[in-house]
Amino acid sequence: MTTHQRSWRRTVPGALVTGAALALVAACGSGDPLADPDASSTDGGSGTDGGSGDGAAIVVGSQAYYSNEIIAEAYAQVLEDAGYTVERQFQIGQRDAYLQAMEGGEVQVLPEYTGNLLQFYTPDTEARSPEDVAAALPDALPDDLAVLDYAEAEDADSYNVTAEFSESNGITSLADLADYDGTITIGGNAELESRPYGPPGLQEFYGVDVEFTAIGDSGGPLTKDAIRDGTITMGDIYTADPDLATGDFVTLEDPENMILAQNVVPLVSADLSEELAEVLDPVSAALTTEALIQMNAASVNDQQDSATIASDWLTEEGLL
């Protein structure tokens, strides 16, 4: 008992376990992992703890969507090239989440899509064309946010059915759905259910009542599988998705313009908009829908990481 007693008074197990665990972290992390300068696409930690406001580093964010992350990575790389210190806070989530972070000043730059952004702040907007949407945006945004020049590249929500379904029911447009007898189930991210271009919009613009299935892969393979196997009638797939070119799906036309133009646009903190415009406007000027689809394909098919895809494209365009 005595030996144990003596050693135990010096060695408290909790403290030592803690020490061992921390030593392990130190050994593996070679220092503070949050300060890891090795910036890969999802550079860990991404310094959320600091928030921002000290102006030391620009925090570039992205949606929880791989294609958006690639664009964000391109923004980050040109900013770094221009001498800025950049922190990456990628894959934040969906619009409500990251706009909250941007309004709170935690994130200063994020690639957005003009139409959905406009509709987020003014759901009843009448603007539809790229020009009108872009023109309406500055007034719609909160004072502390601003958009820079938009790119030609578009990545819009779109409703897709199987080619077979389209043929056998003669449905090529959302307007045709009103005459369809069966139940229409649409699939998409959970937030689509309450978006103006989701079930509420389909009812308002096309008089179609739909059921909704939430599938959280942003129009990815699960959504596509679900369309193919009939789990859902149609799915929300973004138009820059390389798989739309395969011919498996028919993208339903939107004659009533329920879905707004969705040009890629940098959303930035208003106080930084002028200096950031100098760096990011050339990127937007070069970004076409074709380029975006190609980059998406590089990600999905060639499985490259976003940093490589972005730098390849920037180099090709002479922007790096």
Binding site: W8, V12, A20, L24, L34, S40, T42, D305
Partner: protein
């Protein structure tokens, strides 16, 4: 496997980050839960209430906690601190019960012997209760560690990066290798932490090494000396 080759740096960064995000709540949870467990064991009238309230915390879905906690304590949803605090709460919820059970399982005869030879309660705690409860505390800590490492991944659904990013991103891009890598690395981190804790226990508490178990049903063994099973309180509380 193309993906792994092209993204090895990202996997490494996320793994390190994941480890760091896991270790913090494990340590914080342990440090808070052991005294709580001690209190729950010492003051029997407190035990039921304290353990049920803490157990209640464990039923809150982690995903909900990640979003509901920040407005309550005034931090960003995206902050690592959000995840660390939320997972510390779960660690405490699990560990407190383990700690209370661990102290309760210390043989009262030993404890009475210590009192009989004049140990103060403070000294008895450090010299008797803690060393004897130690192996059970560590066993509990191992469970907490493994479950915490796994829970960290859920943070990605609210935008807190970890190996969980490989799940959501891999799902969107349809890359099985990416998700599989995330799973493997999460398991590896869990097993490494588990091993570290187990080894620490070996080093700190050499008396805890278990003798070979006897098969009860062999009639020629003396059943009296075979190890006994646990009491109902330890599982079915």
């Amino acid at each position: 496997m193309t993906w792994v080759g092209a993204n090895i740096a990202q996997v490494w960064n996320l793994s390190v980050l994941h480890l760091w995000l896991s270790v913090q709540p494990i340590v914080i949870g342990f440090v808070i839960a052991v005294p709580l467990g001690l209190v729950a064991w010492r003051y029997r009238w407190l035990r039921g209430g304290l353990l049920s309230v803490i157990g209640l915390l464990y039923t809150i879905p982690s995903l909900a906690l990640f979003v509901l906690l920040p407005p309550v304590i005034g931090i960003s949803v995206l902050a690592d601190a959000n995840l660390v605090i939320a997972l510390s709460i779960y660690a405490v919820a699990l560990m407190t019960r383990f700690a209370a059970d661990a102290f309760a399982a210390v043989d009262p005869v030993v404890r009475r012997s210590a009192v009989a030879i004049g140990y103060s309660s403070w000294r008895r705690f450090w010299a008797v209760d803690l060393p004897l409860a130690g192996p059970a505390l560590l066993a509990g800590l191992r469970v907490v560690a493994v479950s915490t490492v796994s829970l960290v991944t859920v943070g990605i659904l609210v935008g807190i990066d970890s190996l969980g990013l490989l799940f959501t991103d891999g799902l969107q891009r349809g890359i099985l290798a990416e998700i599989a890598t995330g799973i493997v690395m999460t398991v590896v981190i869990a097993l490494v932490l588990d091993l570290v804790i187990a080894l620490a226990g070996r080093l700190l508490m050499p008396w805890a090494r278990r003798p070979p178990r006897r098969r009860r049903w062999l009639p020629w063994r003396s059943s009296r000396t075979s190890a006994r099973g646990a009491t109902a309180a330890e599982v079915a509380e």
